[in-house]
């Protein structure tokens, strides 16, 4: 192999108390690739993203970004690496003390030291790309609908045009038309900015649209990893059950009856 993958995980383990969430997980994402991770609720998809970006520290294993092992580096180095990343959180995680445009411009102003006027015009442009007009810019997050918050979070994640962008359920809570606008936007980010993206979604239509490759997380491991074209012939009973949304199959949902 000539070039190292953009993101490479091997043997990553993460537990919370007795609960093992990631159990020796291997994954690699090439530069400019759009990977979609699917998997049941509570299987650790969000934890996976947080481990890669450095919000959580795995108990075991290695994570390489651009070929460099990030876990052995100092906290300070990891913070410097952070400017490579953008992340849309599952719950949007907007700063509720700041206006919408200040949320979007936050990284530009605070981390890059850009002037407010210039940062605002970039923020307005990003907001437009996620389908929000400038009258939203001066509102506070608590005045927005759930789907609008998600789109502001998306605008914030892409505002500084990072090399690696994580989208944690970008289309959940959006109407189908807006969901497709967001799908297009993610495709554009990969195509125009050359960004490497990892997207978590339960929405198979969206997965098919934005993915180059898909990976399925189950029981703490990536049990299937392949290109979008192969997903329907994966020959993997877990993947088949998931993409067709069947209650019967090898995946047992942890339902409790009491």
């Amino acid at each position: 192999m000539s070039t190292a993958p953009k993101i490479e995980l091997s043997g990553v383990k993460k537990r919370f108390g007795p609960k093992i969430v990631l159990d020796g997980l291997d994954l690699s994402v090439a530069k400019g690739e759009s990977l979609v991770v699917i998997g049941g609720s509570g299987t650790g998809k969000s934890v996976l993203l947080k481990c890669i970006i450095g919000l959580l520290t795995p108990d075991e294993g290695t994570i390489r970004i651009d070929g460099q092992d990030v876990l052995t580096r100092s906290q300070k180095d990891r913070q410097k690496q952070m400017s490579k990343f953008g992340m849309l959180f599952q719950g949007a995680a907007l700063f509720d003390s700041l206006k919408v445009w200040e949320n979007v411009a936050f990284g530009l102003i605070k981390a890059q030291g850009m002037g407010r006027a210039q940062a605002k015009s970039i923020a307005l442009e990003k907001l437009k790309r996620v389908g929000l007009q400038s009258d939203v810019a001066d509102l506070h997050p608590d005045e927005l609908s759930g789907g609008m918050k998600k789109r502001v979070g998306l605008a914030r994640a892409i505002a500084s045009e990072p090399e690696i962008i994580f989208f944690d359920e970008p289309t959940t809570g959006l109407d189908p038309i807006m969901a497709d606008v967001i799908n297009d936007l993610i495709v554009e980010c990969v195509r125009d900015l050359g960004a490497t993206t990892v997207t978590i979604t339960h929405d198979m239509a969206s997965a098919r649209k934005i993915a180059d490759n898909l990976g399925m997380l189950y029981d703490g491991k990536i049990i299937w990893h392949g290109s979008k074209a192969d997903i329907d012939q994966s020959g993997n009973a877990y993947v088949d059950q998931f993409i067709h949304g069947r209650a019967e199959g090898p995946i047992k949902m942890a339902l409790r009856s009491h």
Partner: protein
């Protein structure tokens, strides 16, 4: 249930919390001296801690000073020592009651608010979002609150001291028939520089404690709305206890007989 296991568990939990607090405080102090400083955040926090606390601190001082004067008058009447009343009032207010009551009132208002705000930011992943936007949460959230606490509390306590002495003055002159001029003369004569300095040092320490407890409990809150509620309570209770403990230590150190 093994009693030793329970004691052991409690001891370990206590030590773990102490270690985490020390680590938190040392992180915060390190970021306090390293640039950049978020000046706008410091200004905002000074408004919240200082200006918005003025009414409650002022009223507390006024009522306490007045009640104190009445009690000292009644108590010292038996020894015909009413003339020392002004001296006792000013010393009690400036050395102890001004900073302690001021500190406690501000702790009740501010530690809880800080813990609730930062705790909410924690459980809604806003602190994680700060990190992903290359902004250190200690710098952005904790340091401005610590600085604002240390700067504003002395100012508030000066106001509390003045209003407290004025409360005593009101009772003495309006109710008990003291001569205003001589009451003030006694007040000024008995007040020493050490009293004022110790009062301000206490205030600064309390300001630090108040902000530290609010930030620490908020920062480590877990478990949704209930967790934030718990963090709020813990912040106030621990700030109260640490203020009273710090006060005792400073008093013993400064005022040795």
């Amino acid at each position: 249930m093994n009693i030793f296991a329970i004691i052991g568990r409690l001891t370990l939990d206590g030590l773990a919390a102490l270690g985490r607090l020390s680590l938190f405080a040392s992180h915060a102090l390190r970021h306090l001296v390293l640039p950049p400083l978020f000046l706008k955040n410091i200004g905002q926090q000074m408004m919240v801690i200082g200006y918005n606390s003025l009414p409650v601190v002022g009223l507390t001082a006024l009522f306490t000073g007045a009640a104190l004067a009445q009690q000292i008058y009644v108590g010292s009447e038996r020894f015909n020592a009413e003339s020392t009343m002004a001296a006792v009032v000013v010393i009690a207010i400036v050395r102890e009651l001004g900073p302690v009551l001021g500190g406690l009132m501000v702790a009740g208002r501010v530690s809880s608010a800080m813990a609730a705000e930062i705790g909410t930011m924690r459980v809604t992943e806003q602190i994680d979002a700060l990190v992903t936007l290359s902004t250190n949460p200690y710098k952005y959230l904790v340091v401005p609150r610590l600085i604002a606490g240390v700067i504003t509390l002395p100012g508030l306590v000066i106001v509390a001291n003045i209003i407290g002495v004025f409360g005593g003055f009101l009772v003495a002159t309006q109710r008990l028939g003291f001569n205003p001029g001589s009451y003030l003369t006694v007040t000024m004569n008995f007040l020493e520089v050490t009293d004022i300095v110790s009062s301000l040092v206490k205030a600064a320490v309390f300001g630090f404690v108040i902000a530290l407890m609010g930030c620490y409990h908020g920062y480590y809150s877990t478990g949704g709305a209930q967790g934030v509620g718990r963090a709020t309570t813990n912040a106030v209770v621990s700030a109260f206890i640490l203020i009273l403990l710090a006060n005792l230590i400073i008093t013993i150190t400064v005022f040795q007989s």
